[in-house]
Amino acid sequence: MKPRTPTLIIGGLLLAIFLFLLFAFQVRTTEVAVVTTFGSISGAPKTEPGLYLRLPYPIQNVYKFDRRLQNFERKYEQTLTRDKKSPILSVFVGWRIADADLFLKRFSGDILRAEASLESVVRNIQNSVIGRHDFSELIAPDPSQVKFEQIEKEMKDAMAVTALKEYGIAIEIVGIKQLGLPESQTAKVFERMKAERERLSKKFIAEGTAEAMRIRSEAELQRDTTLAEARRKALVLRGEAEAKATEFYKVLNQDESLARFLISLNSLEASLKDRSTLILDEKTAPLNLLRGDAAATPAGSTNPGR
């Protein structure tokens, strides 16, 4: 039976694809490829993007890795500073494959395995570098005291040597992503912050009370001073008035007995102004009239003027 043209075309296409997959491979601009022949690495890693020829599996095998900057983050881990403070840190690392051959040998091209190995290096170096610094070099009110960059650089330098030599990995970025305190210390900080705020609250209230008291006392002082001054002036005025009045009263000296008589009359009138009880006998003028003493003279014994 003669095969038909469409069938031949489909067959040819499938064969071409199959052969392409068997004898060629592509390397993207983001990749690096390592070719092994019967298990041993042959030639330099292919870092230039393009199409490359190969012998089919199992003669040759092609391992392709992403050569872009990868990044991973360490666990949020408690550590100890030189001054025995114990913050929690998480560090992230930016890395890329620098030596693809070594990377293949060490991890069989498995990025997850590479990161797992890198993690133990990062952990060790993170703890040792932090242990050489005081807590105040991580957190301080004075920016010049904080040595974030220096700490990160120390970590990066220490990691870079091991990672490149042992794993074929170049460390390009190391950064502290998170910085915190363990729960027990967080509670203490909360407690302190609360106490600090309460202190501030009380301070504000006390300041308010003191200021209010000052204002009140000042007002009272001003009031008392004003009133005292007013009283002083009043007394002066009254004294002056007394003096002036005395000037007028000099005329009374012309007949002192009359003056006394008149003053006594005024006093009598003033004394009896309120409700009072008088017990009088018949000798008191004008009650002496009750005895029928019609001839009583003004110069009698009851005459107060005499």
Partner: protein
């Protein structure tokens, strides 16, 4: 020959059982979703093969029974006993009929449930597997290939036998084996593709197979429904409703048209397969497939880059040309050319310091004392006050920090697509981590009071520039367009230690302080003018008294001068008159007791106590003046 068919049927279901177990075990070993789907299809096929095998046994018993009855009928003259065609005379036939009437539809329904359950299970399972990837395994590849080969040989034999001897009950098992072989081959192919550097096809194939399982489930259900309505033709062979046409078709692709024709003929009751259209399709099918492949390849040559996107073209992995802007772009089909699209003009963002919660988004009031995000991280901030305290008590183990809850949304655009896509494996994640780092660094030396109040805007500006600098240093090719300090406040604290509440109390205390001062101010404002007024009054009173005194003295002096003149004129009369007038006037309101003693020996007693309540008789009623108007 029947015994031979039965034997083949037995081999079929045993082979299917082995294939299902084999695929399942190796799929777990290689984490192959395709093989897992293959195991599921094979399991369904195993059930149909078992039913077919059982039905085959029933038919064989019926045939034996029929032959025995014919033999008995020939050997006995009196066949009255066997004239009857009652069912009790043919128990095997009755069993077979009952099986076909009740058991087969019931089992078909169970089959449908199995298929539907499988679809639901794989839908969830594959969704969960979307983010994972597995390494290719050569051992698994070899095992899949071996299983495929064995299943193919057994299935081909069973199908051929079913076709040659007309044993239709061997067909379901044979088709299931052929399909199992195909699926094992697909599992091999997906592993091989992964090996050749094309990962992800395993999941794609698995998704297609899940869809296929869903179609088979629908087919099973439709077969059940149509069975109830199909025209019954006397003597016509009844179709096996649990046998999937689709499975048969996939197992033996060459029989596509035969299966289609068979299905159409069976359903409509006339020979559709003899029509010109059907024959045309059968002849030109290969060309249709070729055209279809051509259309697929042509569609792969055109890429539409949406507004807000840019594209990067690669030929055999090498970047070609510049950045592709929105519009239509042409390329060679894969694997020659590829175009990668990225949303460059679209604002992208992430959050620092919090994880948003859709449930809490609807809150209309945002308070420090209530959580407004799913998760809020406390950032360490240096404490100036604590620093002073630490110096005072040196050596004490106090952590000199405050904690601050900060919510910072960061928005960015991709400015340099090549740097973004070609220099970094996970650029977004790196940018997020760099931004976190910058925020932590900034907070490490910031003053908590300043950043929470007037330093907020400056902090946002500083953070934006430091994050931008970090992104530039890392060569990310991103532009930070916005950094917002939308929330920055003390942490809520715990149930026992409510920190945010304590901060609110400080604000309350400040208000109270102001209130107290204002109250004192009000007191002062009231007291001082009042005192001034009182002083003025005192002075005025004194002035008044002084003037009165002087005036009175002046008047008295003048009066005295006149009185003196009168006195000198008539001294006795003057004094008496004045005395008596004054006495009368002064004592007018006094109670008077006049004693006129006749006997001086008497002792008079007077009660001069004031009465608390006056008697009516004690009240002096003033006489009404004549000129006074009456009230």
């Amino acid at each position: 020959m029947e015994r031979h068919s039965l034997k083949t049927g037995t081999i079929n279901w045993i082979a299917l059982l082995g294939l299902a177990i084999g695929l399942e075990v190796v799929s777990k070993m290689a984490d192959s979703a395709t093989a897992e789907l293959g195991a599921a299809f094979t399991l369904v096929g195993l059930v149909t093969a078992l039913v077919g095998w059982f039905q085959m046994r029933l038919e064989a018993s019926e045939e034996t029974e029929r032959l025995e009855m014919e033999e008995l009928a020939r050997s006995r003259s009196k066949a009255a006993l066997f004239d009857s065609t009652a069912d009790e005379a043919f128990p095997a036939r009755k069993s077979r009929m009952l099986f076909e009437k009740w058991f087969v539809p019931g089992l078909t329904f169970v089959l449908f449930l199995m298929q539907a359950g499988g679809v639901a299970y794989f839908f969830r399972d594959l969704k969960a597997k979307m983010s994972t990837s597995s390494a290719p395994s050569t051992l698994a590849m070899a095992m899949f290939a071996g299983l495929s080969l064995v299943a193919f040989l057994l299935g081909k034999y069973a199908c051929r036998l079913a076709q040659l001897e007309g044993v239709r009950l061997l067909r379901p098992g044979g088709s299931a084996l052929m399909l199992g072989s195909l699926l094992a081959f697909l599992a091999t192919a997906s592993e091989a593709l992964q090996w050749f550097g094309f990962p992800g096809y395993d999941l794609q194939i698995a998704w297609v197979l899940t869809g296929l399982l869903a179609v088979v489930a629908v087919e099973t259900l439709l077969a059940l429904v149509f069975e109830a309505y199909r025209p019954r033709v006397q003597g016509k062979e009844v179709r096996l409703i649990y046998e999937s046409r689709l499975v048969g078709l996939l197992g033996q692709p060459t029989g596509l048209f035969a299966t289609a024709a068979q299905a159409l003929d069976y359903q409509f009751g006339f020979r559709v397969s003899e029509s010109w259209f059907y024959r045309f399709l059968e002849e030109k099918f290969t060309r249709f497939v070729l055209i279809w492949i051509g259309i697929l390849a042509a569609s792969d040559c055109v890429v539409f880059i949406d507004a807000g996107e840019q594209g990067l073209r690669e030929r055999f992995g090498r970047p070609v040309g510049g950045v592709l802007n929105p519009g239509i772009a042409f390329k060679f089909p894969r694997p020659i050319d590829r175009i990668y699209r990225h949303p460059v003009s679209e604002v992208q963002g992430f959050n620092v310091g919090f994880v948003p919660d859709e449930k809490l988004e609807g809150q209309r009031t945002v308070l420090w004392t209530r959580a407004h995000y799913k998760e809020e991280f406390n950032l360490l901030v240096a404490s100036r006050e604590q620093n002073v305290a630490t110096n005072a008590t040196e050596g004490e183990q106090i952590v000199p920090v405050n904690l601050l809850t900060v919510s910072i949304p960061v928005q960015y655009l991709i400015r340099d697509l090549r740097a973004w896509a070609y220099q970094h494996g996970e650029p977004r994640l790196l940018l997020e981590r760099l931004a976190n780092r910058e925020v932590v660094r900034y907070m490490a030396s910031v003053d908590i009071e300043t950043i929470m109040s007037d330093g907020r805007q400056q902090a946002a500006r500083d953070l934006r520039s430091t994050i931008q600098a970090a992104a530039d240093k890392a060569g990310l090719g991103a532009e930070i367009i916005y950094v917002g300090l939308q929330d920055i406040h003390p942490p809520i604290g715990t149930k026992e230690l409510k920190v945010a509440e304590a901060y609110e109390k400080v604000i309350g205390a400040e208000q109270e302080k102001e209130a107290r001062i204002l109250e004192a101010d009000a007191y002062a404002l009231e007291t001082v003018p009042t005192a001034k007024a009182a002083a003025e009054k005192t002075l005025n009173d004194s002035r008044s008294v002084s003037k009165q005194k002087v005036a009175e003295a002046s008047g008295r002096a003048t009066q005295f001068a006149s009185q003196l003149q009168a006195f000198r004129t008539a001294p006795g009369v003057f004094t008496a008159r004045n005395h008596l007038e004054t006495f009368a006037r002064a004592s007018a309101g006094s109670r008077k007791i006049v004693i006129l003693p006749t006997n001086t020996q008497d002792v008079l007693l007077f009660n001069l106590e004031d009465k608390i309540r006056q008697d009516l008789l004690d009240v002096t009623i003033e006489p009404v003046k004549k000129d006074e108007p009456k009230k």
